[in-house]
């Protein structure tokens, strides 16, 4: 059974040369345990040297190889080709609604600009400690999950609102905001809420759950956004707590 072949249909597009993308099919011999990324390498090395795609760690940690595989956003390095053996052709296309650099590689600038909006860094209490901020395991619990985000861009690409509204921060950025908001070492709570309490921030989320469906790390950006919404609403209805930041 090892010599089975699968046809992989790849969306090709070179902005310099093409007006519109086009499909190109490649036949790849399947090996046991072969991932889509392996198949793409097989094509690159033996069939078509002009194919472009992005990759790095090949182990689902870096988030470089997120792409649309068989109608769902997945990491190419974590997706086995074998499960699609029943399909006539396996469609592979880049992250939707993003600027395409070439073929399967997309421009992440817009995605990272969205993340930069929410100050994705720890704002600690001054004076800064000599070594580190102490945090007990229990205090870390709320951020155990959102800290796993690998910034692959799947959620923001799959979000319909993030597509039609380019100002919208998107699930990745909002979950990042939640991650720092609920971090006990971070003291800029009100400041973070001010950034996301916005018609282009929290209130563009209509709980479509596309981000939850596609997240390769099985995170739940929608829950993070909803929790922030509750915080923001409470602050609006019952007044701000005295700011912890001087």
């Amino acid at each position: 059974m090892a010599e089975e072949e699968i046809t992989i249909k790849i969306q090709r597009f070179d902005p310099a040369a093409d007006k519109l993308p086009y499909w190109q099919s490649y036949k790849v011999k399947m090996k046991p345990g072969m991932t889509v990324l392996d198949a793409l390498f097989e094509i690159l090395n033996h069939q078509d040297g002009t194919l472009s795609f992005r990759f790095c760690c090949r182990a689902g940690v870096c988030g470089s190889c997120a792409m649309m595989i068989a109608g769902k956003l997945r990491l190419a390095c974590e997706t086995q080709v074998g499960q699609f053996a029943w399909m006539k052709e396996l469609p592979v296309s880049p992250l939707p609604h993003q600027k395409i650099v070439k073929d399967l590689a997309v421009d992440y600038d817009h995605f990272f600009d969205r993340i930069k909006q929410i100050k994705p860094y720890l704002i600690g209490k001054e004076p800064y400690p000599e070594k580190e901020y102490i945090q007990t395991p229990k205090e870390r619990e709320p951020i155990n999950e959102p800290i796993d985000c690998i910034l692959c861009g799947s959620c923001t690409s799959s979000c319909t609102v993030a597509w039609t509204n380019s100002d919208y921060l998107g699930p990745a950025a909002l979950m990042k905001a939640y991650r720092f908001y609920s971090d006990t070492r971070d003291i800029a709570d009100d400041e973070r809420l001010d950034i996301v309490e916005n018609e282009s921030g929290l209130f563009r989320c209509h709980t479509i759950f596309n981000c939850v469906e596609v997240c390769p790390k099985k995170l739940n950006p929608t829950e993070a956004i909803q929790k922030l919404k509750i915080k923001v609403a409470k602050r609006k209805l019952f007044g701000r707590k005295k700011s912890s930041r001087a």
């Binding site: 600038d109 817009h110 600009d113 969205r114 909006q117 319909t160 609102v161 039609t164 509204n165 380019s166 100002d167 921060l169 950034i195 309490e197 916005n198 018609e199 282009s200 921030g201 929290l202 209130f203 563009r204 209509h206 919404k229 923001v232 609403a233 609006k236 209805l237």
Partner: protein
């Protein structure tokens, strides 16, 4: 790139719009229940279709009472708020509208108030009895 600097430039909080949308939704469900019951079931003491017919007089008799007037008008206000605020949410999902936020808001307020006035006038013949 100028396009990118526009991200999150709309520094207007939508918390009240969001909260009142939920509040008006709850009120609407209650009011809609009353509205349906009053206009379709209250006088429906037999299953013959003819007698279920609403006539001008029926409505006039009903609207003699202040309670029904209050229910009808507050229902209209809630519907208009919920509907137009919902429509605003839909519009703000698109770049072209959220970047003209002030125009959209002003337009919807004008539309909402005008419709409310129109709705108030519509019930006058019923209240005054023709």
């Amino acid at each position: 790139m100028p396009e990118r600097q526009r991200i999150a430039t709309t520094k207007v909080a939508g918390t009240w719009a969001w909260f009142l949308q939920r509040l008006s939704a709850v009120l609407l469900v209650v009011l809609l229940g009353i509205h349906l019951y009053v206009s379709h079931f209250m006088d429906l003491d037999s299953h013959v279709a003819d007698e279920a017919l609403i006539t001008f007089e029926d409505v006039t008799v009903r609207l003699d009472q202040l309670l029904y007037i209050v229910v009808d008008y507050s229902m209209l206000a809630m519907v208009l708020f919920h509907g137009l605020n919902g429509f605003r949410t839909v519009m703000f999902d698109f770049d072209m509208f959220i970047r003209r936020k002030k125009t959209v808001d002003a337009g919807l307020w004008v539309l909402g108030i005008a419709t409310m006035l129109w709705g108030i006038v519509i019930l006058f013949p019923f209240i005054t009895g023709g």
